[in-house]
């Protein structure tokens, strides 16, 4: 069995105050391992995105702990947490969030530049990641001139550029047609998932469930079986 990449212990998150106070995630405990593609699925409003944000160091839980490779990430200070996200987590956002006024290769180079790498070196390295996702020919184009699938692959290349151990995909197929979405996930499974990487995908697109190593179901902020089931 591969080592544990992420361990969440009883994490809970509340939003709002007074009568409007609601519990988005309630006492969730689960583990994800390296070389594992873990899906978190469930209906809208079930707390998937909130859970994803808490395990990736973006949203602080009200209670519970998150360990990534044995580091209690919510024990880190703000700048250390930002450095953790930069070095350990690769994000692929639902809307990609690419910069339209930068070229494709410059978009991919952003994490490298945030790591204070030299501009030319970063661009060269980013070009390699673009090659990995099969878009080296599009390096000098603006992302706005790419198709949805290509933009998704640029976002993946950008996430890969920081060399993350943990990759987070938020609704990766939501902005794509069925075939493109399937091809993207297939690519991620075969090319991106490595021995030292754990991929967590939040989705409610059941057409891509077959690519999951394990699926966690969420409903009303809880894991459906109460702790983190595996039913790939």
């Amino acid at each position: 069995m591969n080592p544990v990449a992420i361990r969440a212990d009883g994490i809970t998150k509340w939003f709002g105050q007074g009568e409007a106070k609601t519990c988005a995630v309630r006492d969730v405990t689960f583990e994800a391992r390296f070389k594992e593609m873990l899906y978190i699925v469930g209906p809208s409003g079930s707390g998937k995105t909130t859970l994803l944000s808490m395990i990736s160091g973006i949203l602080r839980p009200d209670s519970g702990k998150v360990h990534v490779e044995d580091v209690d990430i919510w024990g880190l200070k703000e700048n250390a947490l930002a450095t953790f996200r930069l070095n350990k987590v690769g994000f692929v956002f639902q809307d990609f969030h690419l910069f339209p006024h930068l070229t494709t290769v410059e978009n991919v180079a952003i994490p490298l530049l945030l790591k204070r790498q030299d501009w030319n070196k970063s661009i060269k390295e980013a070009a390699k990641y673009l090659d990995v996702v099969g878009l080296s020919a599009r390096a000098q184009l603006s992302p706005t001139r790419l198709s949805g699938g290509e933009q998704q692959r640029v976002a993946i290349a950008r996430a890969l550029a920081s060399g993350p151990d943990l990759m987070i995909f938020d609704e990766p197929t939501a902005s794509l047609d069925g075939d493109t979405g399937k091809r993207i996930v297939e690519f991620v499974k075969s090319e991106v998932l490595t021995e030292h990487r754990c991929i967590i995908v939040v989705t409610h697109d059941d057409r891509i469930y077959s690519f999951a190593d394990r699926i966690l179901h969420m409903e009303d902020g809880r894991m459906r079986d109460g702790k983190g089931s595996a039913d790939a």
Binding site: L59, A82, T83, D95, H97, L114
Partner: protein, 378 residues
């Protein structure tokens, strides 16, 4: 950090529409600020032209004098009294008055007449034609060749004219660092000839020009002259007094100051609002950067870099536009009173930096508050 700033640069300049709007706002604002302050500096230079052209280090005058053109004649004994003060190397009288020159076609042209000390000719202008000794010749006058020269029908050496019904002859043509504010030509002659030609009261000395033995002697001279009931100012002090008079006692300074302030507010609001909109439109992207791992101070650096870059580019363009327009205006109107000084440039730079800092600050406040979680929620 350089790579991040380069990203910030590209995000800014590649958004051509917003960048152009920002530059236009700032350029216009800087142009107005420089133009207004240059006009003021130009007018003040012209208002102090006699002081600068004469070059005397210390001036003695009546206490009520506010500028060169409103001199109050002083008694002759004062000259001897000033010469007797300890620390005075020499002191000479200067006459400053106005006369009317009758031109060949019978029309009249007002002129400024400056009468130099007969013995020393202290404060004389540099001649470009003729010999200064010829000023002692009968009816001799030196004309200043400046923007107003043509108003005397561009006289040559030997040209005769009538000044207050007296005959005058041009014996030299001079150049001076600055011409006067009121657009009238200047004639130099000797002190005694000036008071002969121009009707005056029994007191005839407009100013006493003093050369101190050393700069340290000036306070002592000021004190001694003050005991005599008169005022002593240095060259710069006199220029400041003239400037202060125009600022405080005429509408000119207030109006120009108001226009400068309005230009600043226009620049502040245009660039502040445009830059804020620019940041608002990129808010999700900044959120994504934060999620990826950008630290707060890195985002702050990016935004202030963008604000400073826009500010300095607008500053440069504004100066260029202003300088171009002044040069163009001077081609058509030679005595157009506008000069770009280091003071103007410094003031405008200060204001641009305030505009950039304000624009950056309101944008930074917004960006620092963005929660990367919002990027996930969409």
């Amino acid at each position: 950090m350089f790579g991040i700033l380069r990203i910030a640069y590209k995000l800014l300049v590649n958004d051509k529409g917003k960048f152009a709007a920002l530059l236009m706002g700032l350029t216009f604002s800087v142009f107005l600020m420089i133009q207004m302050t240059s006009m003021f500096a130009g007018m003040m230079k012209k208002a102090s032209a006699t002081v600068m052209n004469t070059g005397s280090k210390v001036w003695v005058m009546d206490r009520a004098v506010t500028n060169v053109s409103s001199s109050i004649p002083m008694p002759d004994y004062l000259l001897d009294a000033v010469r007797s003060i300890e620390g005075v190397k020499f002191a000479v009288p200067l006459y400053s008055g106005a006369g009317l020159v009758r031109l060949a076609d019978g029309t009249y042209q007002p002129v400024t007449v400056l009468g130099l000390d007969d013995t020393s000719l202290f404060g004389r202008p540099a001649l470009i034609e003729g010999h200064i000794a010829d000023i002692y010749a009968e009816n001799g006058f030196v004309v200043v060749k400046d923007e107003e020269y043509s108003k005397l029908e561009s006289p040559k050496i030997g040209t005769t004219f009538e000044l207050n019904d007296n005959r005058g002859v041009i014996v030299g043509i001079a150049k001076v660092p600055a011409s006067g504010l009121f657009g009238i030509p200047t004639l130099y002659t000797t002190f005694n000839r000036a008071i002969q030609y121009i009707p005056s009261m029994r007191f005839t000395i407009s100013f006493i020009l003093v050369e101190p033995q050393s700069p340290e002697a000036v306070p002592g001279i000021q004190k001694a002259v003050s005991k005599l009931g008169y005022d002593t100012v240095t060259e710069q002090g006199f220029i400041d007094r003239i400037t202060n008079w125009y600022v405080m006692h005429t509408g000119m300074g207030t109006n120009l100051l108001l226009m400068t302030a309005i230009s600043f507010i226009v620049g502040l609001s245009i660039s502040g609002q445009t830059f804020y909109t620019f940041v608002l439109e990129n808010m999700e992207k900044f959120g994504a950067l934060k999620a990826i791992g950008a630290k707060g101070y890195e985002l702050v650096a990016m935004i202030f870099f963008q604000a400073a870059l826009t500010g300095l580019a607008g500053y440069g363009l504004g100066i260029g536009l202003c300088a171009g327009l002044i040069a163009l205006a001077k081609l058509r109107v030679p005595d157009y009173a506008s000069i770009v000084t280091f003071g103007n440039l410094g003031l405008a730079l200060g204001m641009v930096l305030v505009i950039s800092a304000f624009s950056g600050y309101i944008a930074v406040r917004k960006v620092l508050r963005i929660d990367p979680y919002d990027v996930f929620r969409g």
